[in-house]
């Protein structure tokens, strides 16, 4: 990497000589996804010094795997830090941990977790540059980089993120996906490994459905054996599952490893299996590390586009339930999404994958009742031309408005945040989603007008400042107008909640402007409103073309907004 200085002297920066400290305080699943991204960084820069700061409870079980990639692993544990009777002792313990992290110079700190503690810890770690959430000397939250602002505004507050978390991490690091080989079926094995658990009841079926699937797999194929894996906390449920009366005659082909294996051993069990079946959980990420073909049932709070196993050739079953995905605090008695995925379909897909290693739409339609297919979306993962994970909709079902917007956002964000274009075919609309899209276009016009006003008032401020006799009162008035524009943008959210990714993203950008004085801050405000206009124009044009194609295909008239952006 060459950099030219003003005096024309050329010097070379070798990233291999640099140190990156990565802060990841979230759960094991997030830690595995971090590891998948860091593997790309390591592949590209084999001699780079990489440090990890993680929670002891999540990192310890996979320390061997982490140490293969990181030069240093620092573990944070509240119980190790805290002295219940002395604040001084406790802060001394924190100082010791931070001192260890700061012992060797950090060129860059990347905070990949978006929790309060991670922001404060980031403020204590010394580094030349910081990315992700951190705090300034007044404890004010800062998010300096675009992709971290994207996570904060799109992932923490909504469910329309179209990217895999690993791809977002890759973009934060600025590396491409180099090392993920496709998942494959291991034909040397006769075992199917199942992980019927997750971190929350919302995200996994109860054991009845799993016992039906296991029963059918064992009954209909003499050569299949089943492994069940899980943690100690899941031991009782696993025992109950294995003792189900219908499985009694198959116990010799049912291996219950729950609570008896380490993460490394579980990874090995998955590697030795023909395929993996489970919910979106830590084990599904292990399956992608093991490069084993997986069949994943996404339920409850799971956002499949974000956290599905990061490798090519996995199959994801997603319920079409209108409330899916929910949030951790949503109360749910009936669990409609659990009912919308028929266990017969999961069995049929598992059986086909075991026998042939692949599933396509014709097989799905031949083997399954339309009633079973009607309530689900079935995706197969693959990598696009930029080596980013993407979903192939196997049932070619027409898209709901939420899905339409997710696809339009993917194209727009990729173009805006990374300057990349992706090959896409036209989105297949339903009559309902076409009408909804048309309404959203009207709201895009409102947002566009607001961002144009934003540019106008920031320009007025700059003009006032550069005038011979700047009047503070005028500057205040223009500044108030900009505040009003922010408030009006939030009002658009009420009529068009699907536009929240834009509105939240650009309000996050404007909340993190980095200027030393009023001129610099106003210039950046102007640029952010200008960017808002550009992004809205892109998605407006994409919507327009999608609707035009729909009209051509169906000869239907959809009311379209009058004005052109």
């Amino acid at each position: 990497m060459e950099k030219v200085l003003q005096n024309k002297e050329v010097f070379t920066i070798d990233p291999n000589e640099k140190t990156i400290c990565i802060l990841q305080l979230t759960r094991i699943g997030d830690l595995i996804q971090t590891l998948q991204s860091v593997r790309n960084l390591r592949d590209q820069f084999p001699r780079m010094n990489l440090k990890l700061v993680a929670r002891k409870s999540f990192a310890m079980p996979m320390l061997d795997i982490l140490k293969e990639l990181f030069n240093e692993v620092h573990l944070l544990s509240l119980s190790d830090i805290i002295n219940p009777s002395s604040l001084t002792d406790t802060t001394t313990n924190i100082s010791r941990l931070v001192k260890n992290i700061n012992t060797s110079h950090n060129d860059l700190l990347v905070n990949l977790s978006f929790s309060k503690p991670s922001g404060y810890l980031a403020s204590l770690i010394n580094a030349d540059h910081k990315m992700g959430i951190n705090r300034d000397s007044l404890a004010e939250q800062q998010i300096p980089d675009k992709w971290s602002q994207f996570i904060f505004s799109n992932i923490m507050t909504g469910d329309q993120n179209p990217f895999a978390l690993v791809d977002i991490f890759n973009n934060i690091f600025g590396v491409k996906n180099y090392s993920t080989a496709p998942s494959t079926v291991n034909y040397n094995s006769k075992t199917v490994t199942i992980h019927p658990f997750s971190s929350s009841d919302k995200k996994n079926w109860n054991t009845n459905k799993w016992s039906e699937i296991i029963y059918k797999l064992l009954k209909n194929s003499d050569d299949i054996e089943i492994n069940i894996i899980g943690s100690k906390a899941e031991r009782n449920i696993a025992t109950a599952l294995c003792n189900t009366p219908i499985l009694k005659s198959f116990t010799h082909r049912l291996n219950n490893y729950v609570g008896t294996t380490t993460i490394t051993e579980s990874l090995d069990i998955i590697k030795q299996s023909r395929l993996f079946i489970g919910h979106d959980s830590m084990a599904s990420h292990l399956a992608s590390l093991a490069q084993r073909t997986s069949l994943i049932i996404a339920l409850g709070t799971v956002r499949p586009h974000e956290t599905s196993p990061y490798s090519e050739g996995n199959y994801i079953l997603v319920p079409k339930s209108s409330c899916f995905p929910c949030t951790p605090d949503t109360l749910c008695q009936f669990k409609q999404c659990h009912a919308d995925i028929p266990y017969q379909l999961v069995y049929s897909m598992a059986h086909t994958l075991f026998k042939t290693g692949e599933i396509d739409s014709s097989v799905l339609e031949k083997d399954n009742s339309i009633f079973h297919l009607n309530s689900v979306l079935i995706y197969k993962t693959y990598f696009n031309e930029h080596a980013m994970l993407k979903f192939d909709n196997l049932l070619q079902s027409r898209s709901s408005i939420k899905e339409v917007m997710r696809q339009l956002y993917r194209i727009t964000w990729l173009f805006y945040l990374s300057g990349k274009e992706e090959k896409n075919s036209f989105i297949d609309l339903t009559a309902e989603s076409a009408n909804e899209l048309s309404k959203i276009m009207s709201n895009l016009q409102h947002l566009y007008e607001l961002s144009e006003f934003g540019q106008k008032y920031s320009r007025y401020i700059l003009e006032e400042i550069s005038s011979e006799t700047p009047q503070l009162q005028k500057i205040k008035e223009f500044s108030q107008k900009i505040d009003e524009i922010e408030e009006l943008s939030k009002l658009v959210l009420k009529t068009a909640p699907l536009l929240s990714p834009f509105i939240h993203y650009f309000s996050t950008v404007r909340g993190n402007l980095n200027g030393k004085n009023i001129v610099e801050l106003t210039e950046q405000t102007f640029l952010s409103f200008s960017d808002t206009s550009v992004v809205i124009s892109v998605i407006y044009e994409l919507s327009e073309k999608t609707l035009a194609e729909y009209r051509l295909k169906t000869n239907k008239t959809v009311s379209s907004p009058v004005t052109e952006i």
Partner: protein, 50 residues
């Protein structure tokens, strides 16, 4: 543990006063803020990306 919590609350109160007078926070203040956030999480459950 109660003693520690009272001490943290006292420190947080002092910090709020510092903040309102525009004073910069010290390293020790940041350590207390980190500790308070960790304790808060230990009651509410660790964060995920959602």
């Amino acid at each position: 543990m109660e003693e520690l919590k009272i001490e943290i609350m006292q420190k947080l109160k002092e910090m709020r006063e510092k903040e309102s007078s525009g004073q910069q926070l010290s390293v020790n203040d940041s350590q207390v803020l980190l500790l308070a956030a960790l304790l808060e999480e230990s009651y509410n459950g660790e964060s995920t990306t959602k």
